[in-house]
Amino acid sequence: MSIFTTIRRNIDRAFLTFFMLFLLIAYPLAPTTDFGKFMTSWYTKITGWITVLGAWAIMIGVFALVRNNLKNIYKRAEGWYYDAVTIVSFVIFVVAGFMGGSTGPIMTWLTTNVTRAVSTALLGIEAFLATSAYYRAYRLKTLDAAILLISSLIVLMWMGPVFGYLFPQINDLAVWLLLNPNSAAQRAMFVGIGLGLIALAVRSMLGRERYGA
């Protein structure tokens, strides 16, 4: 194998390793020393690249969205009219964006009267669905279910301010639940995720991780 083939095959891994190590070293440094200033200034530059890469990723997403939806409309696939709605909405928002930017009058009108109205309605519907779920799922069937039910009731009471006023002990109990069992379980989970990410990073740097395989 020639040296060029070796470089070609490993260049992506070399870039990945370089940037991972650079960001790992630069992240905890503050721009208070010369070295810190140098590292954080490059950290800022790389951040700019991430933003540009993100913009390109969005363009790929937009291309895929338009292509797939147009294909469905052309083939009259099941529910093709939903795809038509997607394309029409997309075109309207893109045109509005070009005419006055993201806070221009047309975009503001669309965001206020369409996007926000629809999103708020969805949030509102969630309240009804959640109530139905509470009614059907929260049953004292087993000991585990009982523990979940009682702790949920305490936190629900804490979330509804009037209960905290009527029974002040509920606040202390809910905060104890959130600070102790909840925090302990979540910290264990975060440590597990962190260790998993470190393993993934090391595997990626060593070329053991095959993306998209």
């Binding site: 954080t40 806070t103 999103s119 109530t131 629900l156 509804g160 975060f190």
Partner: protein, 301 residues
């Protein structure tokens, strides 16, 4: 072949408890709707107990000295206005009431977050209600800065490299009160993030936690989406010093400021719907246990 009479005899009419446990959605939804709407027409002024988290933020703002710079973030999607706006209005009013305190306003979430800022500013109305507060001297607006978490982290290291101009295109150097006072995230006396969506790994909220909380140890507060507040508790109170729990948190803060704003209005509906949901759960379980009891043969009861 089954005769009609025989079939009817073999089918037992379900017990009232069983029917109650299998109610359709419409009556459940209808009662919830009543509990939601009634407080809008007949305000109940439900009492709001003030939690330690709101008191801590209030005390922190009270302790700010002239010249201190506060970073106030508006990174909530415009669709989530209902969850965050009241809290930010109350906090901004308190900040503006403190003489000499400088406020840097920014958003990282999405371009529509600028509309979230616009609505808060329309309610607070600085020009009318705080005529002594001048743009460029007491507060600046940087607008939306794209890039998500990576930008939040870089902004904490070197704010004016990421945002060299304000929203209106004026270089930050022309605002010496801000340019000279802040060199890194550590120079902010208080950082208030508006959002919480996506939890601790949310691309903006997570960035605030990692940069201002873990790296620069700033006094960090969140005006929180209540649905994810449990996720942030492992960081409270060591890294995150205060969390306003959506509209309930806003109502608490309004009570500390002796004002009645949107948070206090919405807290009526919040309390009533929670009352209904809790009553529903408790009653359903009583009926469920009774139904189980009735299902047993008489001899074993």
């Amino acid at each position: 072949m089954e005769l009609r009479g025989e079939r009817d005899m073999s089918r037992k009419k379900p017990r009232w408890t069983t029917r109650l446990l299998n109610l359709d959605n419409p009556p459940i939804y209808a009662i919830l709707l009543i509990f939601m709407i009634l407080p809008l027409f007949y305000p109940l002024n439900t009492p709001v107990p003030v939690t330690a988290m709101a008191i801590d933020l209030y005390n922190k703002i009270e302790s700010l000295k002239p010249g201190d710079v506060v970073l106030l973030d508006f990174s909530w999607s415009y669709s989530f206005k209902i969850l965050h706006e009241a809290g930010h209005v109350a906090v901004l009013r308190h900040l503006l009431s403190k003489p000499g305190v400088k406020i840097v306003m920014v958003c990282f979430m999405g371009a529509d977050s600028e509309l979230s800022w616009r609505d808060v500013m329309a309610i607070v109305d600085i020009e009318k209600n705080y005529p002594d507060k001048k743009y460029g001297k007491d507060w600046i607006w940087l607008g939306y800065i794209p890039g998500g978490e990576a930008t939040v982290l870089a902004f904490a290291d070197n704010p004016w490299a990421i945002a060299p101009k304000d929203k209106y295109g004026t270089p930050i150097e022309q605002y010496p009160d801000f340019y000279n006072a802040v060199k890194t995230g550590a120079d902010f006396a208080l950082v208030i993030e508006g959002g919480g969506h996506g939890g601790v790994n949310g691309h903006v909220t997570g960035g605030f936690l990692k940069s201002y909380g873990l790296k620069y140890h700033c006094w960090l507060a969140y005006n929180m989406d209540p649905s994810v507040i449990a996720e942030f508790y492992p960081y409270y109170p060591t890294i995150i010093k205060s969390m306003l729990n959506g509209n309930a948190g806003a109502a608490e803060y309004e009570r500390l400021l002796n004002m009645r704003g949107a948070g206090s209005v919405m807290v009526d509906a919040l309390s009533m719907t929670h009352l209904y949901v809790i009553a529903l759960i408790v009653l359903t379980n009583i009926v469920y246990l009774y139904d189980k009891y009735l299902s047993k043969p008489r001899s074993s009861r």
